[in-house]
């Protein structure tokens, strides 16, 4: 079986180029990310970004390899049926495809390991540039990474081919005798069930997510909702593409090209959904993630604006009787370690906290407590976001271990706000961070004059909020650059691959259309029109999936931001890439004279 795999590989390498590149890229990115993570112990933000990159890479690699394989197997149905016809068993057909995937995985890994070193220096440079890693950072090489990469490369390829090979094994020998290889139904019962289940799962997760009040729960829920919906819609895309084709085709009117394109959209269902799927996933990831971050930022901004009541923010303690000052809440940010016991497991985490004077704090902060009261916040007590009133928590602050009681429950914070409030006198002075004071002026006081008497620098409240926004935004922007770049790269490989494979398949169809009287330009125009409709579908379904994430997160954020800029940029890119590829491939597919192609099979 293996020699047959090698022979097939040599003969049909074009079908596999996209999948090999995908595996190469996946191996390279995972290898480089892991090496950086292994050396970047203390840089939590870098690790978080790389963790996301790792996940996105592995997911997209498996998705693209599996959709490529599903597509090539549909094209090779006749060949596979022939094997069955001359005595191949179902198991042998599966083994043939699995060993093809093995070859592909090994090849991708062999290319991916050196490529990983290039990605490593690019990723390090990018993360240093964004300020997440120090300039002197260099990731150490580890021998074990080779095994991880090899396992990953082969694993991704095998995972990608698994479903397709099971399907291929059901090819009936008689199909070898049919004229066209496209005899198989695209929408099988299992595909319907899978698609509907995933869509329902996605919508359910979205609804659950809107009801969750904690961002730590809502973020993964809504991202998962988006992924489930995107996968579900891509499973159902063979039904949706022709529908949208009919809609947009009507817009193209009854021109000859419009009619042919409309008919082809109905006909080439598998081809079109293979092109739309990577686009759909790209748009879902890009818009979903960008929108989630933008929504959370906006939510955090709104939360801060709603919460803080003051005019100026000074960088230091402010005495209560300073002239012109009505109230001043002096707050000391600090990090505390909290030990929680969960079913016998003790876990210690660091959390941001504020040491405050409860009396002035509640004058400067308006957000209502979920339970308890600031009045009880004295002595060994604490206010906690998401804690249980009356329980005690084990905290370590400075060099002291404390067991304060929770007397107030804070609303959940978005994006790294303080999770705990401690009475100022509970905290050893050495542990206090640099103070900041939220100052409310007396009516009629001159802000500029008062500001001069306060610890410098003094910001207006708006300036201060803007400053905290931009700190959060630069982290988000860094994450987005890394993840978007990645997702776009995969999607380009996936889309170009699908268009190229499809055009190879269409040589004969194009030739027949030309013999019927179509000019070469009309054929290219038809192909372009079709690919435009497919692009529109991919963008639309991707956008819908992304909305699941945004609606899911909107519950906890109290707002929703749709990143239109990123969407239009992606749309423009998608039209350019798909359009250019489709013109290029249909041009080359129609280069030979039609009569020489019309008679050929496959």
């Amino acid at each position: 079986m293996f020699s047959l795999s090698i022979a097939t590989f040599r003969e049909r390498w074009q079908l596999f180029v996209g999948a090999i590149l995908t595996v190469t890229l996946g191996v390279a990115i995972v290898q480089s990310s892991l090496l950086i993570v292994a050396s970047a112990g203390g840089y939590g933000e870098a690790i978080a970004i790389l963790g996301l990159a790792l996940g996105v890479s592995a997911f997209l690699a498996i998705f693209i390899v599996s959709s490529t394989f599903a597509f090539t197997i549909a094209q090779r149905r006749r060949d596979l049926a022939l094997l069955r016809l001359i005595g191949g068993s179902r198991g042998q057909v599966r083994r043939l495809l699995l060993s093809e995937a093995l070859l592909l995985g090994v090849l991708g890994t062999v290319l991916g390991i050196p490529a990983g070193q290039i990605v490593l220096s690019a990723q390090t440079a990018l993360l240093e540039n964004l300020g997440f890693l120090p300039a002197s950072f260099s990731a150490a090489w580890h021998g074990w990474i080779l095994w991880v990469s090899l396992g990953l490369g082969i694993g991704v390829a095998q995972a990608g081919v698994l479903a397709a090979s099971r399907r291929a094994a059901r090819v009936r020998p008689l199909e070898a005798l049919r004229e066209t290889g496209a005899g198989a139904k695209v929408m099988t019962v299992s595909r319907w069930i899978l698609g509907i289940l995933l869509v329902v799962t996605g919508l359910t997760l979205m609804l659950v997510s809107t009801a969750v009040s904690n961002p730590n729960g809502a973020i993964p829920l809504s991202i998962n909702a988006m992924v489930a919906l995107a996968l579900g819609l891509s499973a159902l895309s063979p039904v949706i593409v022709p529908l949208i084709g009919r809609l947009t085709g009507t817009l193209a009117g009854s021109s000859t090209i419009g009619r042919l394109a409309r008919a082809n959209l109905r006909d080439g269902i598998r081809r079109n959904s293979s092109t739309a799927a990577p686009l759909l996933i790209l748009v879902a990831l890009l818009i979903g993630l960008a929108g989630t971050f933008a929504t959370l930022s906006q939510g955090a901004h709104d939360q801060l604006t709603d919460d803080v009541r003051g005019d100026l923010v000074a960088a230091g303690p402010v005495a209560p009787l300073t002239p012109g000052v009505a109230t001043a809440s002096t707050e000391y940010p600090l990090m505390i370690k909290v030990t929680s016991v969960n079913q016998g497991d003790t876990e210690t985490d660091e959390f941001p906290a504020l040491a405050v004077d409860p009396a002035t704090y509640q004058q400067a902060h308006q957000l209502p407590l979920i339970a308890g009261s600031y009045a009880d916040l004295h002595g060994p007590t604490v206010a906690a976001a998401g804690g249980k009133l009356g329980s005690t928590v084990r905290i370590h602050v400075g060099d002291q271990d404390l067991n304060p009681r929770v007397v107030a429950v804070l609303p959940p914070t978005l994006n790294g706000g303080p999770e705990y409030l401690l009475p100022r006198d509970l905290v050893p002075p050495a542990a206090l961070g640099p103070a900041q004071s939220i100052v409310r002026l007396q009516p009629g006081a001159d802000p500029a004059a008062v500001a001069r008497s306060l610890p410098q620098p003094v910001l207006t409240l708006d300036e201060w909020i803007a400053q905290s926004d931009s700190a959060q935004d630069s982290l988000n922007a860094g994450v987005m650059k890394v993840v978007m770049g990645l997702a776009a790269l995969y999607a380009v490989i996936g889309v170009v691959n699908a268009v190229v494979i499809a055009a190879g398949e269409r040589r004969r169809e194009f030739a027949v259309a030309r013999l019927t009287g179509f000019t070469r330009n009309q054929i290219i125009g038809t192909a372009l029109l079709e690919s435009t409709v497919v692009t529109v579908t991919g963008l639309l379904l991707g956008w819908l999936s992304a909305m699941a994430a945004l609606i899911g997160i909107s519950g906890v954020a109290g707002t929703m931001v749709i990143p239109w800029g990123a969407f239009w940029l992606t749309a423009l890119g998608a039209f350019l890439v798909v359009g250019a590829t489709s013109v290029w491939t249909s041009r080359s597919a129609t280069r030979a004279t039609p009569i020489s192609l019309a008679g050929t099979r496959e």
Binding site: L4, A7, E11, G88
Partner: protein
């Protein structure tokens, strides 16, 4: 060569085979109670107008399609009731196929194509046998060529060699000369004839070409899913006339 053979002399036998497609209003009966035995060591041609059911008959006889009712006996086994595993086993050992469109694996050389059924069956592949059989079909000097480097006639001869390497009990041929020019067709038919005469090979062949049918030992005519006529050792003219009468 009479059709009424004792069972021991019959390679394949169809008993009251019915094959229907579709359901309800769209139901089509492609075979309507066909009973026929193909005697061992003979060459039978199946003819009939388009849509008469001749391909369906071939597919049912070869176990590629399951009859709606009736039996298909190959030796003492009923193909109509055989499991998928049994049918795979059968295709490995007892049945060979030759088609109009050759159906060679395009990535493999002539030699590799011929050896493929043996590899699939997990048997020991004797390259001497493979070369010998390719020499028999006149391709001893084309062993390392891939299908696209061969002419249509040569590809069909590779396909015949591939079908014969397992020494099948029955060789099923579906329009084996349909895509060939007359010279190549003559060579292929000559090859089939000598397989029957020299090695007592059983062949069942569907064709619409009277010249091809006339090389067979007998010709069976189908119309509307029923066997309507049979000629033994006919001339090309007789076959053509009978076919024209059926199509009228």
């Amino acid at each position: 060569m009479d059709m009424l053979q004792t069972q021991a002399d019959t390679a394949v036998e169809l008993r009251d085979v019915v094959r229907e497609y579709g359901s309800g209003q769209a139901r089509v009966r492609a075979l309507d109670g066909v009973g026929i035995g193909f005697a061992r060591g003979t060459w039978t041609a199946v003819m009939g107008p388009s849509g008469s059911g001749k391909s369906t008959l071939l597919h049912c006889a070869a176990g590629l399609e399951r009859p709606t009712s009736g039996q298909v006996l190959l030796g003492d086994r009923d193909l109509a009731a055989a499991s998928e595993r049994d049918l795979t086993e059968l295709r490995r050992k007892d049945i060979g196929f030759v088609f109009q469109s050759f159906n060679l694996v395009s990535s493999l050389t002539a030699e590799q194509n011929v050896a493929l059924p043996l590899r699939l069956a997990g048997s020991k592949v004797s390259m001497t046998d493979v070369r010998a059989i390719l020499t028999t079909v006149g391709l001893g000097d084309r062993l390392g060529h891939r299908p696209r480097e061969l002419s249509g006639g040569q590809q069909q001869r590779v396909a015949i060699a591939r079908a014969m390497i397992t020494r099948p009990a029955v060789l099923f041929a579906d329009e084996p000369t349909g895509a060939l020019d007359s010279g190549a067709a003559r060579t292929v038919l000559g090859l089939l004839r000598s397989m029957v005469d020299d090695a007592q090979q059983t062949i069942v062949m569907v064709t619409h070409d009277p010249a091809a049918a006339a090389r067979a030992d007998s010709v069976v005519f189908l119309r509307d899913g029923r066997i309507v006529d049979r000629l033994v050792r006919p001339s090309v003219r007789e076959v053509a006339d009978r076919l024209a009468a059926l199509e009228a």
